[in-house]
Amino acid sequence: MSQIVEQLKSLLGADNVITKDMTKYLRGGEQPAAVACPGTGEEVAALVKAAADAGVKVNVGGAVVDTTGLSGGIAVVMKRMNKILEIDRNNLTCWVQPGMPHKEFCDALLKEGLYFPPEPYAVSTSSVAGCIGIGDPDSKAFKYMPPRTYIIAYEMVLPTGEPMKIGSKCIKCVSGLDLIHFIAGTRATLGIFTKILVKLQPAPVCRSIVLADLPNITTAAKAFLSIQKRRLFVSRENAITNKLGQHIWSGAKGAVAFVDIEEFPKANVEYAKIVEAELKIAGATATKIISDEKEYASAELGWLKAREAVNLTDKKVRFTVGASNVVKGLDAAKGVVGALEDGEFALIEAQLGKVTVASANPEADAVKLNKAAMPLGGNVSGLLGSKLRCDEYSDQAMFDNITQLLHNIRKEFDPKGILAPGIQF
């Protein structure tokens, strides 16, 4: 192992290969041989090639790396590759390095009157590459589409160490198979980003947040349903139970509803009025309409912190139901995990029909919640959800077929099984 560490030191410079006090870069119980901080795409390629030749595992992160399965391997931290390389106003695109902190990226663009809609997965540590790599449809995805929509080109080092480029500044491309958008959500199993081109939008002309303090999260869901029935679609239609809701509205007595409106000025005013009225009708004890930029930023940051807390715990079950069935989804969740207001958190992203609840026994609860969600037009999210759906139909063959395909793809790209060892299908 010391051989690969020495090799990395000669490739990246000794200062950029850390073998002591690595904890701040790591998440998880296992111990890699080194944390490597490459500064260029060429260095990433050389590093991966060396690891592949030596049969050493590699995982990557913007600021923090998951160490599952990485004992004796290399944790690659992209903190040195953290810059915006080019903002192209005419084409509404931006080349960015993978380690650029996601929130910093969004803020820098907003200052230029430009907008990258996807939300950070974990606001204090997420990078732009993490956003695409995780690919999680965030709470703005109903209006703006999921993060995959925003990647239009990238440079990547494949698990063999070969650099690969794909895409251009065109917002439409069907030349060849769609490895451009497919890469979202692959979590570094197929390669390590070294440069990313995202498409942008003009910054919203007008933004407001409507906050409401409600007796419980179900009342928020009822208000959201009324808003949807009026065919009024907003940027975010979220609510969270009291404990994490404090991040957004300190002192709120109940669940906090967080509705974000990004429309042209007249619609913005009208939408905010309607949303506030519906929340009051549903039983809000207090409401606020926030339009001031600073207050907006602070409420948004509060929401992102609450989101981070939810995203980073394993003690949860996330499932979807049809957008009009969120109230029923919450009722089902109560039946499984107990009173939602008493738990650590319950969160709804209503337009997406997404419900996340804290759970002491996620595996067992996921089975029950999936069963409840399916008749409501949803299921538990991700690969686990696919498995549970197949189980519900007693169709093990279908699930085997799906996982076989995932294995085939991964094996084609990473025959030696070098990258992202913590990800197992």
Partner: protein, 466 residues
Amino acid sequence: MTVAQKTDQNTLVEALINIAGEQDVVTGRVAMYAYGYDATLLFGVPRAVVFPESTQEVVDIVNYCRSTGVNIVPRGAGTNESGGTIPVDNCIIMNCCRMKKILEVDLDNYVAIIEPGVVNYDIQEMLAKYGYYYPPDPASYKASTMGGNVGECSGGPKCFKYGVTRDYIYGMEFVTSDGKVRWVGGRDYCSEPFYDITRMMCGSEGTLGYMTKFAIRIEPIPAAKRTMLAFYNEPVDAAQSVADIVAAGIVPTTLEMMDNLIINTAEDATGAGLPRDAGAMLIIEVDGPAYGDLDDQVKTITEVVKKANPKQFKIATTAAEVDACWLARRVAIGSVAHRAPSYSMQDITVPRSEFPQAVAGIVQTSKDYDLDIGILAHAGDGNFHPLVLFDQRNAEQSERVHKAEAALVKLALDLGGTMSGEHGVGLLKKPLLPNEYAPVTIDAFRKIKRAFDPINRMNPTKIFDL
């Protein structure tokens, strides 16, 4: 044809009839010729055309073809512009047109479950009754199927604001060459089984598997819309307006451009009163909530367009006027038939900022190869459909057309673009793929193909060779 092959043919046809029924198997010479074409000028002859009506029939056909070494070319309406459905060696055409059920429409949850043979227009018509729609609508939407739309990841006039087919597919069922059925994704964006298999299937041109069901996202029709029509002296003036509208923070639904040649062929076809001396025409459409913001956007757009000295600028005030604005665009492609018996339609796409250079390049190509080239463009997307007019019976002219096609692709790539924004590669552009991608990228495509279809049975030789 040898006796041995003939026996094989009989066995093949018999097997297909056993699976799909006699009425769903076509082997007549004339009919097979019809399925030998698509919207390109390429041609091939299949061994049979079969119309499965259920996923099980698809599985049975795929299993039979695998065991006998017969290739499968998936097909919808055959309107693709890339040679994607042209029969290949020793193949059957598997046509999804008779799997055309709309299985479920769930308006409250913004999702519909449909079979691949459903024609795009039929979904729109059905949804419109409830005030809903499915945003991607390629100009061929009256004929093209959802199987084909997803197969090509089709675009259309609304992509700039609403995106392309890929963005509206929540999940799908498909059958791979090993006869296995998979349902991936769900009724929302959160249900992919780790890898986003649905996205990989979109635009895969039938090379990875045969799609049998889709969950699509549907939406309420926006409350208000405004349509405008501008005529300019030169295409670059239209390009300037496009850039200025976007710079003003407006994201229009539509920015469609036609040049002088197409204005004239459209006028020949419709007699709609288009100014024949205009250098370019731009259709601009904005939509959104009905609280008056659209009127402000129209004001901004009016000012922006004026800066480019238009010959005419109209704001449609009635539904009939909106239709009149669109009429010329709708007939544009077909209208060139008045000028020449054949056309080659390209699909080059450039970064929006390169729009004027691309227009100049197309004009230059027209001169260099002494060919009439009309320009139709989804201008907001930088996506051009140069229509090269010619007579296929003239071998020398056809040769020049092929050279002009390659020159147009080179033009797009030199401007940092791509050879295909929405029509796909198929057979037509396959030889040019190495001009766009390094070997390592094409090899990555091969890895995906091998993962899905290691025996290379699904639409082989399309896009790239395995």
